[in-house]
């Protein structure tokens, strides 16, 4: 295991420790403002729009975005960037459709806005269960990311990372609520953007160099990934001290080791990559006679232009296979990413932290600018990791931190600490959303008890503790899966469970409480069952043959979003009060 071979890097330990202490001190100081329910759940609605906008980025740019997408691009090229495109697209739906009504109608939780017209216990119960399940599904990849980070950062096993995040987040959320969570997100979002911009600039400054990919080796293999041939026109200089005089092969490519491009601009970087041959690493696993599983990592030379098209990864390979179901699976995932953002409870409750509708809109625009800038950078970070000789074939989630390590231990320590901070921030937001659903929706509305303000906060803190514990356990169970892949599932479930109900509640006069609750229950249960019985779950979670899966494709949104909507509409029409039947 890597954890046993990585020596402790004391610079990393120092930076990491400083970040963690800073977060805890900040939480402690801001905790005084969170004694009331409005302070704990909504930061008194006094967060400025710019701070909230960057905090949106902090909430949204989770382990999936930073670790997961960079890892997918580093191994499969453009396929990881598809997630960047889809994640950002979802913000248009949030901005143009739900941001303003949510701010106007809601108070503390997702259910508040959904139930503003109805005051129904049934709707609140359905929304609370949906919030809890979606938050839990979204928590899993964050914990997986935390476990992946702690290995190269501190040389410790992944369970330590998961445990550390669980403990620190629980302290943050239980002590200070939305005020500290917002400021943690703001600082983290700003730091993540700044450091990724620096990392991208360093990648462009380094350019490409021809290196032998090395032999196939038993996985996990580290420090691999290279450009094996560059187009002759791109060669700008030789190795230090040598004259640039490289042999050009008949196909116009230079394969002499040490040939390098020198610094490249953003467009030239992509152009040169596109015209180069790249060693992309593939891992094959097989059982021996004793049943032991052996994994072999092998370099496969692929032309850059192919890597900059969709369809290389197992998830999206169907785009080139000609299989209709594989293409439907792709469309379904992209639909889930587009509609999922506006359905994520931990994103929606951030609209309650600003003072008015205009601030909600302004903060969304700031968020889109920050998040979009980051997603453009992900392509450069991923391709830089793929070609920079800093991959770990056993864990795609480690690509970005290991890329930073190739530029020195200080940058590695900073990037890893900010990435860990990223996980902390996102998990804090998710735990807060989930604890709010328990304290406000389940206890007050469903159980019919109305504890005083301080008791509500106390219940929410206990719920945060329980959620944090669940997230730690699940993070360990799913630790071998790519973070962004897991978030794809969370988006499917969120979009199926929440979006039809939200649109009906906000825009359809004939919607009834029974219809809204039905839309949530049908969307939630159908998408959950679909995901758990899908080919991806069989292969990647249960370790069973994908052919045994019950569902025809893995991403359910294309079926389960309309299913929830139709069920909600039919039940609304059937339960309409007679006075409305014109």
């Amino acid at each position: 295991m890597l954890a046993n071979t990585t020596p402790t890097d004391w610079v990393s330990v120092g930076v990491f420790g400083a970040f963690t202490v800073a977060v805890l001190v900040l939480s402690s100081l801001l905790g005084r403002r969170a004694s009331s329910a409005k302070g704990y759940f909504a930061a008194h609605g006094q967060i400025g729009w710019f701070v909230n906008g960057i905090a949106f980025a902090g909430d949204y740019l989770s382990a999936a975005s930073f670790l997961g997408i960079c890892g997918l691009i580093a191994f499969w090229g453009y396929d990881g960037f598809l997630y960047s495109i889809g994640y950002l697209a979802g913000w248009i739906v949030a901005l143009l459709v739900v941001a303003e009504p949510i701010r106007r109608l809601g108070k503390y939780t997702f259910a508040d806005a959904l139930n503003a017209r109805f005051g129904s216990r049934l709707v609140t119960l359905a929304a609370a269960v949906s919030t809890l399940l979606v938050s839990l599904f979204y928590l899993i990849p964050q914990m997986v990311g935390a476990g992946a980070l702690i290995k190269p950062l501190l040389g410790l096993p992944s369970w330590v990372g998961v445990g550390l995040v669980g403990v620190v987040v629980t302290v943050i959320v239980t002590t200070a609520g939305m005020v500290s969570t917002t400021w943690v997100q703001f600082i983290k979002g700003g730091l993540l953007l700044s450091l990724c911009a620096i990392l991208a600039a360093l990648i462009l400054g380094r350019g490409f160099e021809v290196r032998a990919p090395g032999p196939a080796r038993e996985a996990p293999a580290r420090n691999v990934g290279s450009v094996v041939a560059l187009p002759a026109w791109a060669i700008m200089e030789g190795p230090p001290g040598e004259t640039a005089n490289f042999a050009v092969d008949p196909d116009g490519l230079v394969r002499t080791e040490g040939a390098r491009t020198g610094p490249l601009g953003p467009i030239d970087f992509l152009r040169v990559f596109s015209a180069s041959d790249v060693a992309a690493w593939r891992t094959v696993s097989a059982k021996d006679d004793t049943g032991a599983v052996h994994s072999m990592a092998t370099p496969e030379t692929i032309h850059g232009d192919v890597l900059l098209q969709p369809g290389n990864s197992p998830t999206f390979r169907g785009l080139r296979s000609g299989s209709i179901l594989d293409r439907v699976d792709f469309v379904s995932l992209m639909l889930a990413l587009f509609l999922g953002t506006a359905s994520l409870p931990h994103i929606l409750i951030r609209y309650y932290t600003v003072s008015d509708v205009r601030s909600a809109r302004l903060s969304t625009v700031v968020g889109i600018g920050a998040i979009g800038s980051f997603y453009i950078l992900t392509l450069y970070l991923g391709l830089g990791a793929m070609t920079g000789g800093a991959l770990d074939t056993s864990d795609s989630n480690m690509s970005a931190p290991l890329l930073a390590r190739s530029f020195g231990s200080v940058l590695f320590a900073l990037i890893s600490s900010v990435a860990f901070f990223t996980v902390l921030g996102t998990v804090s937001g998710l735990v807060l959303a989930g604890s709010g659903a328990v304290a406000r929706d389940l206890v007050i509305t469903v159980l019919g008890r109305t504890p005083d303000d301080h008791a509500q906060v106390r219940i929410a803190r206990i719920a945060a503790l329980a959620l944090g514990t669940c997230a730690m356990i699940l993070g360990l169970l799913f630790k071998d899966l790519n973070a962004s892949f897991l978030v794809g599932w969370a988006f499917n479930i969120a979009a199926s469970a929440n979006l039809p109900a939200l649109l009906m509640a906000l825009f359809w006069k004939r919607a009834t409480k029974e219809g809204i609750a039905t839309a949530i229950i049908v969307g939630l249960s159908s998408s959950l069952v679909w995901v758990l019985l899908s080919k991806d779950a069989f292969e990647k979670v249960y370790g069973l043959p994908g052919a045994d899966a019950w569902m025809p494709f893995s991403q359910p949104a294309l079926v389960t979003i309309p299913l929830g909507a139709v069920a909600g509409i039919l039940v609304s029409l059937a339960t309409r009060p007679r006075t409305q039947q014109v």
């Binding site: 453009y78 960037f81 495109i85 950002l88 098209q309 293409r327 889109i368 649109l503 006069k509």
Partner: protein, 102 residues
């Protein structure tokens, strides 16, 4: 879309929220303004859906087209992907000029 149109039953119900008295001051003018501003909002959303849906459609039906080099030696997949990200920000800026929803 049908969501914003009143005739289909998908009226923007937020018009009746008490903190929006201007929306109730007149029977016809607010509806006209409502319709116009909703038209712009849905037009922006439709524009993005067309760009995003078009990308997905090409990826599914004619993936080879995405390999076409279009600008500066960069293929259509990358250019379209970047364009979608930039377009999202442009639409967000344009949305700042819209009147408040509902």
């Amino acid at each position: 879309m049908g969501i914003a149109g009143t005739s289909t039953g998908f009226a923007p119900i937020l018009r009746t929220v008490p903190d929006q008295p201007a929306a109730r001051s007149s029977a016809s003018t607010p509806d006209r303004h409502q319709h116009r501003r909703d038209w712009k909002r849905w037009a922006l959303l439709s524009l993005y859906i067309a760009a995003y849906g078009g990308f997905i459609g090409v990826a599914v039906t004619a993936p080879a087209l995405l390999a076409t080099i279009v600008i500066g030696g960069i293929n259509l997949a990358v250019v379209w992907g970047f364009a979608l990200i930039v377009l999202a920000f442009v639409i967000a800026l344009a949305a700042l000029r819209l009147p408040e929803q509902g």
